[in-house]
Symmetry: C2
Subunit: 254 residues, 2 copies
DNA sequence: CGCTTCATTGATCAATCTCAACTCGCGTGG
DNA sequence: CCACGCGAGTTGAGATTGATCAATGAAGCG
């Protein structure tokens, strides 16, 4: 049984540990626990680090508007989101997909970015931290800073891969790589079933297209080919990988 | 008179401040001065931070080979270089161009990257720092860490722009933006003449192509158009911008 | 229900690639 | 000194990939 984003069993009450939390950097950092258990109040070096209450937004809505980055940094608790850069003429480019536990761009801790928006793909729960307070905390706790930099490095690495994909790979290759990249990240979060490999795949073709620099129509065609050739199956928002070997070959990932 | 990369007046002896230095992060950080003036020896928190002697490589040679990132971080003292990712089948993608004063990827401080190479575009002088020692130093001197993170942020921002360019802009747009982006960075280094805007442009069309995801042949054609339409002039490796307004319009940069 | 978004498919078009030929400048070795 | 080869750039013809346009059906949602 595959976990659905809208599965009510996965959207428990605010109290207690929530499903994304065990893999959430904020959780690992102890930020959540701190906030939840109230230790921050008694701690002298955490005077104000309370995440604003958890927010929920519905699919297709914006989590962060262009100016909202100014002073807070969101962390995804559950659901999928996308970091999108908007051009004045309406073109869009997805810079990254955000999964449960992802901080919305570690680099954002140091400065806001214009023209950028985070939009919910599924229903998304998230928390926000005040930039200043988070920064102050990081100065006090180098082990947290270290972890955050590691997250940032991973983010940078994914961005570099995307550059190579966009610059030098064909549409088919890019789609295959997108799928495999997501499988990998979802696996770390225990959101993939093995044997056969299957997972919920809430992306619309439009979002895929904006992520890999193609049109929605062309995404549809390439995707159909993958299905026709028996590499994947896609039904009811569940993507199943039927021929991993062929898919990896397509992606030139061995 | 425009500074040429191979101008001997710009390649003075190792002693004293060198041309790229005033804008070099290492210089600003005091790393160079420290090394040169020997203060690091007497300082208790800088036991071993000596940059290895300055290296020089000729154009088209590699500064960093695939494994060389393992334990040292290079900083460009003079000349242009490129960070290149190589695919097994020979395709290449330039991730960034490096100018005097650039650290070869701030993220590299925390982990090496495979498949990546830094190649000299012009003759390049550079220094290397030991990763461990540099890291240790940064822990001791938060103001240096702060600057480094700012550099990293700028790098990340450029990478994001490149993603948008590759995913969503036409060849003409990409070339115009590449030129304007370089003008901006070169200006900060006082390597651009105003009125008319002109600067040495040592990139080969192959390198441009690998940076913006096109073929060399097509770069040649687009570039020819720019010249034919009077937007730029290119003679003896000097690029002159004749119609900045039109170029910015092409780049949709206002 | 009725409407909007999403996906599929086919026809045509445009951007870009591939291949190929040719030029030019430069350095090298005979 | 010259022939030669090599890397770089230009140009044209034709092939390909992916975009655009359009029509239709299916699915999600108030």
């Amino acid at each position: 049984m595959i976990a659905r984003c809208d599965d009510t069993r996965l959207v428990p009450k605010l109290t207690g540990r929530q499903p994304g939390c065990p893999v959430c950097p904020a959780f690992e950092h102890g930020l959540c626990e701190v906030a939840r258990e109230g230790t921050w109040r008694s701690s002298d070096f955490l005077p104000n680090l309370v995440p604003q209450a958890e927010f929920t937004v519905r699919a297709r809505r914006l989590i962060v508007h262009q100016q909202d980055f100014r002073d807070s940094v969101p962390i995804i608790c559950s659901g999928w989101a996308a970091t999108v850069e908007l051009l004045p003429d309406g073109r869009r480019q997805v810079l990254s997909f955000l999964l449960p536990g992802d901080i919305v761009s570690a680099g954002l801790l140091f400065a806001p970015k214009p023209r950028r928006v985070v939009e919910a793909i599924t229903e998304v729960r998230y928390r926000k931290y005040k930039r200043d307070e988070l920064k102050k905390l990081l100065c006090k706790r180098p082990e947290l800073l270290e972890r955050l930099l590691k997250d940032w490095l991973a983010e940078t690495t994914r961005a570099d891969h995307l550059i190579v994909d966009l610059g030098r790979r064909s549409g088919e290759e890019r789609i295959a790589r997108l799928i495999l990249g997501l499988v990998e990240r979802l696996s770390q979060r225990d959101m993939v079933e093995d044997n056969p490999i299957a997972f919920e795949f809430p992306l619309r073709q439009r979002q895929i297209a904006d992520a890999i620099g193609m049109t929605q129509v062309h995404v549809s065609k390439v995707f159909s080919d993958l299905r026709r050739n028996g590499l994947v199956r896609f039904r009811e928002r569940i993507l199943t990988i039927l021929d991993l070997v062929a898919l990896r070959r397509l992606a030139s990932m061995g």
